[in-house]
């Protein structure tokens, strides 16, 4: 019954990305009812924020979540971004692996799977088409279109079911989707908490959210500054692999190695190419198309021996210390808050990143569980909250690696404490497609630790200062209390009269004040 190869290959076929993800939706983060809905919020909010910022608009998002049956919801998500030109609407919402953010810039989303993933989930669970309204400017003129779309999974393409022109008031996109098998929850992993955290990471944004009970939450912006647009930055020599070089060489329009390198890599001056020439035996006048793997490897090896300036960081736009503090104050109303934005560093040799950390203490900081406030760690990557897989994340690990007792927090798990960590990078090293946890790159772990320590030290000072103030008042009363007692008892013991002890009292009080200022060496 042995069979021939040809027979076995009769059923050989190729899948589209949409087919693949239809069978593997958990790879898009759509697993579990609560998580699925949170992922939808995440994808849509992320896209809206990115789009508004790229267009230089202060983001305002209005979300309305209606419950129409058990685990059945209608989501309306409206933003004030630049809108999407009509031609691109089906691609953005119905083609997987399609997007405008594949460049080497810091952005919230990056995979071209966000909006199309949401549509796929909607369609898989309800069969309903997606309704998209896009209002955008073309040559200065405001245009508007409303579309009803289905995804053709076999082709990984959108099908326009209906189309209608509309007259909009301003630019923006409104997405209306049906979902089943999802569930709205107030838990730490739920959609509400996702919005709350988004506000802390994006104090310039405003979100109005109407929940399934009809309750309307207005999260006001704490700042009017639109974060500067990140610039695309070229890869750093220390961060490229031979494969990257070959890839660049293949797709460049430059005519020599020399110009390929200076134009495709950052910090790669003509002087550096000369240095490179001395270190290798390669003819840098060769055409890029002729670059061999061995040459690429030789160049990468040479890079390792050379000194380069750190990668340019104009591509990295942190939230900024002040903005974070504003955001946390607005949302948590804490007794104390401290934030830090660290200087850029690199991991894996050349990928730049910045860590920002903050602590809020007291007030509404910490997560309320019953009567008790418990420490919460809010993780962000390029301002986007990371809600799942907290356990295996480098940000969590970094924060937990501190000996919090040394910073005045006795019971770390049960403190009125919100800890904020944001990693800013053109290339965030996620552990999996879900984009929910950060890989434990040693440089990142170390930097998270340093950043957290920095704000923890400030927290410690605050806690100490609170204690010290109490202490001072206490000491002042000690002498006035005990000296009269001692004189009375000493007189009783000696069976004599009490002497005048006022001069003594004055003397020791002066002395004790000096002590408090650290001048004493008594004892």
């Amino acid at each position: 019954m042995e069979r021939q190869a040809g027979e076995l290959f009769e059923e050989f076929q190729e899948l589209t990305a949409s087919e693949f993800f239809r069978k593997n939706r958990q790879m898009l983060g759509f697993s579990g009812k609560i998580r699925s809905l949170t992922m939808v919020f995440h994808e849509l909010i992320t896209n809206s924020l990115d789009a508004a910022e790229e267009a230089g608009i202060l983001p305002h998002i209005k979300i309305n979540l209606k419950r129409v049956g058990k685990d059945h919801y209608i989501l309306e998500h409206r933003d004030n971004g630049p809108g999407i030109p009509e031609d691109y609407i089906p691609k953005v919402f119905c083609t997987m692996f399609a997007g405008s953010k594949f460049r080497n810039i810091q952005s919230r989303g990056q995979q071209g799977l966000g909006c199309s993933g949401c549509v796929l989930l909607s369609q898989m669970t309800t069969g309903k088409p997606a309704t998209i309204i896009s209002a955008y400017k073309e040559d200065g003129e405001l245009k508007g279109v409303k579309m009803s779309l289905k995804m053709d999974v076999k082709k990984n393409k959108g099908l326009v079911l209906e189309r209608e022109e509309i007259n909009p008031d301003g630019t923006g996109v409104c997405v209306k989707l049906h979902f089943k098998e999802v569930s709205y929850s107030l838990s730490e992993q739920g959609a509400y908490e996702y919005i709350r955290r988004t506000m802390i990471g994006n104090p310039h944004a405003q979100i109005t959210f109407t929940d399934p009970t009809g309750k309307k939450y207005v999260f006001k912006r704490a700042s009017n500054i639109i974060p500067p647009l990140p610039k695309e930055i070229l890869p750093h020599p220390k961060g490229v692999t031979a494969d990257d070089l070959i890839f660049m060489a293949k797709h460049t329009d430059k005519r020599r190695f020399r110009s390929l390198l200076t134009s495709s890599l950052s910090r790669m001056s003509t002087k550096k190419v000369k240095e490179l020439e001395k270190l290798t035996n390669i003819d840098f006048n060769k055409r890029p198309k002729d670059m061999t793997w061995e040459e690429a490897e030789e160049i990468v090896e040479a890079f390792k021996k050379m000194d380069f300036m750190a990668p340019p960081t104009k591509g990295l736009i942190p939230i900024g210390k002040d903005q974070i503090e504003k955001g946390m104050k607005e949302i948590l109303n804490p007794e104390f808050v401290a934030a830090t934005t660290r200087r850029p560093l690199t991991y894996r040799g050349g990928v730049p990143f910045i860590i920002e950390a903050a602590v809020a203490y007291g007030g509404n900081a910490g997560r309320l569980v019953g009567e008790q406030r418990k420490t919460e760690i809010m993780r962000f990557a390029n301002r986007v909250p990371l809600t799942f897989d907290q356990g295996s994340c480098a940000l969590t690990d970094g924060v937990r690696s501190l000996d919090w007792k040394r910073y005045g927090i006795r019971d770390f798990e049960n403190a009125p404490l919100t800890i904020f960590v944001n990693i800013v990078s053109t290339n965030v090293p996620y552990l999996s497609t879900g984009k929910q946890s950060i890989a434990p790159e040693p440089e990142i772990l170390q930097e998270v630790r340093q950043a957290t320590m920095q704000v923890a030290r400030k927290l410690q000072k605050h806690i100490r200062a609170k204690k010290a103030a109490k202490e001072e008042a206490k000491r002042a009363r000690v002498f006035e209390t005990y000296i009269p007692i001692i004189m009375r008892e000493a007189a009783l013991l000696a069976e004599k009269e009490k002497p005048d002890y006022k001069p003594l009292l004055q003397k020791v009080t002066r002395k004790a004040k000096a002590e408090l200022l650290g001048e004493s060496n008594d004892e």
């Binding site: 005990y482 000696a494 009490k498 002890y501 003397k507």
Partner: protein
């Protein structure tokens, strides 16, 4: 006896006078408290027990951390003065409760105990001199000894099988008469009753003392006084383990913790009779294996200056080597009478010749 009382009163008064004088002379009063930290506890080779060294701490009325302790010490001093004057005693627990009514408080009894001890060393008096007695009674004594407590005479052969109990106020007890040649002290009351039952007091012309474990202060004072005033040799027969050794050693050379009163408590001429590691081997005694903590303790003893002489070094090393320990009562393996009929005569013979 009256002498001790007068000295105590004088010293207590002096403490108050010193403070008043300093204030009058515009000085910030300071009290020198001899240090009881490990570094100031020194083994005195001549006296053959621990004593306090020359180090002391200063309690200054100008120091915010120390001033409360001075107030506490003076309060206790007045309380003690009152006790001594009225010829009364109180326990440390009672002192602690009495302090409830004072203007200074104590966090717990631990604190009032420590300040009380500070007062002892500052004045160079024992707690008993200041009227502060431990709760615990002393050992049971059986044998031909007559003592006087106040106007009552007690014969330790006629106080019942459980003997005469050494009171905490042993310094007020007077030795009136005796007809013994030695004292045999044993660790457990089981062994005490065995010796009484087998009439060891008669066989060995001896007082039998039942220590009830670690010897109380009163017991140690009793043994020292019997040894010095009545000139009787003291023999201690304990379990053959580090704890038994050390119960004997505290009687002989005092404890580090009580370095400031060891001159009143230690009996350097007292002798350890057994059970030794050599006994374990020679008498083939039922044993238990040494536990980790026993081994640790034995090794500590080897480093302890009180165990410097060859007898102890040899026996401790031997015990570590055989890895076994044995109790006094294990002689019962050979019958209840064996310890009195065979073991003690052999050991006494060995030690007295």
């Amino acid at each position: 006896m009256m002498n001790r009382r007068e000295i105590a009163l004088q010293k207590l008064k002096g403490l108050g006078e010193m403070i008043l004088e300093d204030v009058t002379q515009d000085k910030v009063p300071r009290i020198k408290v001899p240090s009881r930290s490990t570094s100031n506890i020194i083994y005195d080779d001549k006296k053959r027990h621990y004593v306090l060294g020359e180090k002391y701490g200063i309690r200054s009325m100008g120091n915010v951390k120390q001033i409360k302790k001075i107030a506490q010490m003076l309060y206790i001093a007045n309380f003690c003065k009152d006790l001594v004057k009225r010829n009364k005693t109180a326990t440390l627990r009672e002192l602690y409760y009495v302090s409830e009514g004072w203007d200074v408080d104590f966090a717990d009894q631990q604190e009032s105990n420590i300040i009380g001890e500070d007062l002892e060393v500052t004045l160079g008096m024992t707690r008993e001199d200041l009227g502060l007695l431990p709760e615990e009674d002393g050992a049971a004594v059986y044998g031909e000894l007559t003592v006087r407590e106040g106007d009552i005479e007690i014969n330790a052969l006629k106080a019942g099988k459980s003997g005469y109990t050494i009171p905490p106020t042993i310094d007020e007890v007077e030795f009136v008469d005796h007809d013994v040649e030695r004292v045999i002290a044993v660790e457990t009351m089981g062994m005490y009753h065995r010796l009484v039952q087998e009439k060891a007091y008669k066989k060995f012309d001896s007082l039998i003392v039942g220590l009830k474990g670690q010897a109380a202060r009163a017991t140690r004072r009793f043994l020292k006084r019997v040894n010095e005033e009545l000139n009787l040799p003291i023999y201690i027969c304990n379990d053959g383990d580090p704890w038994g050794f050390h119960i004997a050693m505290v009687i002989i050379s005092g404890s580090a913790k009580l370095a400031h009163v060891n001159h009143e408590l230690a009996t350097p001429d007292a002798k350890f009779l057994g059970v030794t590691a050599t006994d374990i081997i020679n008498y083939d005694l039922p044993t238990d294996p040494l536990k980790d903590i026993d081994i640790l303790r034995l090794k500590e003893l080897l480093r302890d200056p009180r165990y410097r002489d060859n007898f102890w070094k040899k026996e401790i090393k031997k015990m570590l080597k055989i890895g076994k320990k044995a109790e006094q009562q294990s002689f019962s393996k050979y019958g209840l009478e064996y310890v009195v009929d065979t073991y003690l005569p052999e050991k006494l013979d060995e030690i007295e010749t």
